[in-house]
């Protein structure tokens, strides 16, 4: 609890959380204004898909930076050394810190999304189940990039390193991962399609997107070809869960193993 409270105070004094929430609020409001002319029945679905497509440009990079700077701040202010000297190991510190970060960075956005439901209900036929799938998708995205951000913060020695690494990671998940798969897609056949599927869903952005689009019922995997059936050998939700666990676990373990205690400006 102490870590959560500490994280909260640090974040509201900083600019990152305000910037993230401000961006999300602004983008949501702008898209809502643009969508008010949409039909009552389909408007919600169109808005949510457009909102997701816009927010994926912001959330990964913002949460990478916030996760990284949150850890790095502990190094800068020497609080990390103090904590480790007294009662914490780096693993326990990281676990508590991660929990604090997730709660502080995700809960305010969730609160905003539930407030956002009010105007949605006024303009569109709002299905709560559909909306929960959307909120869950956004939470998954924030969770995974905050944890990867924590890894960046743990292994960095300077703010420049953080900036460089965060941009490279964002660029990888946003462009390079899919680009690499596209480059080898012509070699995919029934024998290796499962492997390709694993690689595809390892990109959390794609895993979240497919979960969202199938979860809200707009993307249908009915009447699939044999190849596609082999590709979708798990439910989208299971793929997302696996991708999430993989990256959170990898980021957490790597943070513990590769962390550096000292940081400088």
């Amino acid at each position: 609890m102490y870590f959560v409270w500490k994280e909260w105070k640090e974040n509201i004094r900083g600019k990152g959380l305000w910037l993230a929430i401000g961006t999300i609020i602004l983008v949501s409001a702008l898209l809502l204004v643009r969508s008010t002319s949409l039909s009552y029945d389909q408007g919600l679905y169109i808005l949510l898909i457009n909102l997701f497509d816009t927010l994926i440009y912001f959330i990964p990079i913002l949460y990478l930076f916030m996760g990284a700077f949150s850890i790095f701040q502990e190094k800068e202010q020497k609080t990390l050394v103090m904590l480790l000297t007294r009662q914490e190991s780096y693993w326990t510190f990281l676990a508590k810190k991660s929990l604090g970060m997730h709660l502080v960075l995700i809960v305010p956005v969730m609160i905003w999304f539930f407030l956002f439901l009010v105007p949605l209900k006024l303009y569109f036929k709002a299905d709560i189940g559909t909306y929960l799938v959307f909120v869950l998708s956004m939470v998954a995205l924030m969770l995974v990039f905050t944890q990867i951000g924590a890894l960046v913060g743990s292994i960095s020695r300077s703010r420049m390193q953080i900036a460089g690494m965060a941009v490279i990671i964002w660029f990888y998940f946003f462009f390079l991962h899919d680009f690499a798969l596209l480059s080898m897609i012509q070699g995919v056949n029934h024998d290796n399609v499962k492997l390709f599927s694993i690689a595809y869903f390892l990109n959390p952005i794609q895993a979240v997107r497919l979960y969202l689009e199938t979860g809200v019922g707009i993307y249908s995997f009915g009447h699939m070809s044999r190849l596609l059936k082999s590709f979708m050998w798990l439910q989208p939700g299971a793929f997302l869960g696996a991708s999430l666990m993989f990256w959170v676990a990898i980021a957490f373990i790597s943070s513990g193993l590769l962390h550096r205690k000292e940081g400088f400006e």
């Binding site: 389909q42 497509d53 462009f175 596209l182 497919l210 689009e213 993307y219 249908s220 190849l227 590709f231």
Partner: protein
């Protein structure tokens, strides 16, 4: 004693008045009714599998239900000039090994009217079999869900039937929403079809008119196959979004007019294969993964005055190059921000042609999994890389692209300015917020 037994018998007839008795009554009432009579039904369940063989009106209330035994057509109309209205029909035969395909209401005759009817638990909803000039209005058909194909039929099935009017109907979760087989000169207006395989499915049906219909969440919005001279106007094809889905598919369909329709957020807005001489005019094709997918086997389509913007790929030509016109009489299409266009003479037509090149056509032809990447930002990188390596092919050339004459949205700009001002105030007053939310009691 005899009197008591008679009394008990009479008493039991009142107590055990089940639908069987009612059914006999309904069929008996129909049998005994005169031509042109009006039969008013009550708020109760009548057993189905009835046959109407004379012109009459069967009128229910909102709670009237005619329920079949699951072994045949619930209502068969075998006389012309029948009107059925304001009732529900349920439990038609679902047997696929029977001599015929059953329906909730099967019409074999001409000039009938079906109005305000709810249908569920039936193979087909309404089946017009060699039935002409009928009106089907405000009928709601509920199927088993769009994943179920073989085990159920279509919402409205029109077979060898001409000149019918289908208006303001709602179909959800059937195999195909409306299926036309060898059916000509029908009018389909204001219907809503959702969560089916194909919202509209045409086979060998010519000169039909479709106006103001809405197709959403189907595997395919409308599949027009081997059908000619149709008019599709003011329809909406939205969220037909599954893997390899489409808003409208033209397959071996010729001389059709497709005007003023909206294709929004489909996997493919229009899919055209083996089709010739179709006019695609003044449609809104936007935010689809692929705006128009055109196979080389298709020739002489004319695309004019369409607004085609914000699609991942505006148009793609597959399997070679066909002969299609992307403008007509000096009027091309509005491609939004897809192409940088100058219009120095301000005549609304760009000063240079819009030429779209892409390298994705090969991938799309060869590998169906490519569709999973169409929303990925990596697609743009892939296209850029191939542009640098000169691996592209021209997809289309619009010689007379239209420039955007819309005025900028001042409302949105105003909102952005407002948001920036609010953000600045929040940043400036952040310290106050920190004190309020942090509750640490000290100023920072």
């Amino acid at each position: 004693m005899k009197k008591i037994l008679w009394l008990l018998l009479l008493f039991s007839a009142f107590i055990f008045t089940e639908k069987g008795t009612a059914a006999e009554n309904l069929q008996a009432v129909i049998n005994s009714a005169k031509d042109g009579s009006v039969i008013k039904l009550e708020d109760k369940i009548y057993a189905g599998n009835i046959v109407i063989d004379k012109p009459l009106t069967l009128m229910g209330t909102n709670e009237t239900l005619i329920e079949g035994d699951g072994k045949g057509n619930v209502i068969s109309v075998r006389a012309p000039g029948v009107t059925i209205s304001d009732l529900k029909v349920s439990k038609g035969g679902m047997d696929r090994n029977s001599a015929e395909e059953y329906a909730a209401i099967k019409i074999y005759t001409d000039g009938n009217v079906l109005r305000n009817i709810g249908i569920d638990e039936s193979f087909h909803g309404i089946y017009l079999s060699k039935a002409h000039n009928n009106t089907i209005e405000n009928v709601r058909v509920k199927g088993l869900g769009k994943e179920e194909i073989a085990a159920q039929g279509n919402g409205l099935h029109v077979y060898y039937s001409n000149g019918n009017l289908l208006i303001n109907n709602y179909v959800v979760g059937t195999r195909d929403g409306m299926f036309f087989d060898y059916a000509n000169d029908n009018k389909v207006i204001g219907n809503e079809i959702t969560k089916t395989r194909y919202g509209l499915h045409f086979m060998y049906s010519d000169r039909n008119e479709f106006k103001n219909n809405i197709f959403t969440f189907n595997t395919g919005g409308a599949a027009i196959m081997h059908s000619n001279q149709l008019k599709l106007k003011n329809n909406q094809f939205i969220f037909n979004y599954g893997h390899r889905s489409f808003g409208l598919m033209l397959l071996s369909a010729n001389q059709n007019d497709i005007e003023n329709n909206t294709f929004y957020m489909n996997q493919r807005g229009l899919y055209i294969d083996q089709s010739t001489d179709n006019l695609i005019k003044s449609n809104q094709i936007f935010q689809n993964q692929i705006g128009i997918e055109l196979w080389a086997s298709s020739n002489e389509q004319v695309f004019t005055e369409n607004k085609i913007e914000e699609n991942t790929i505006p148009a793609v030509t597959l399997g070679g190059s066909g002969r299609n016109d992307w403008s007509q009489e000096g009027t091309g299409n509005n491609w939004g921000t897809s192409f940088p266009l100058l219009d120095l003479d301000q005549n609304g037509v760009g000063d240079s042609p819009a030429i779209y090149k892409s390298s994705l056509y090969e991938l799309i032809e060869d590998q169906e999994l490519v569709y999973l990447f169409l929303k990925s930002p990596a697609i743009k990188v892939y296209e850029k890389m191939n542009q640098l390596m000169d691996n592209e092919k021209t997809m289309f050339e619009d010689q007379h692209p239209l420039t955007d004459s819309e005025k900028p949205n001042f409302y949105l700009s105003g909102l952005v300015i407002f948001a920036v001002i609010i953000s600045a105030i929040i940043v400036k007053r952040r310290k106050l917020l920190c004190i309020s939310f942090g509750r640490n009691g000290r100023k920072i």
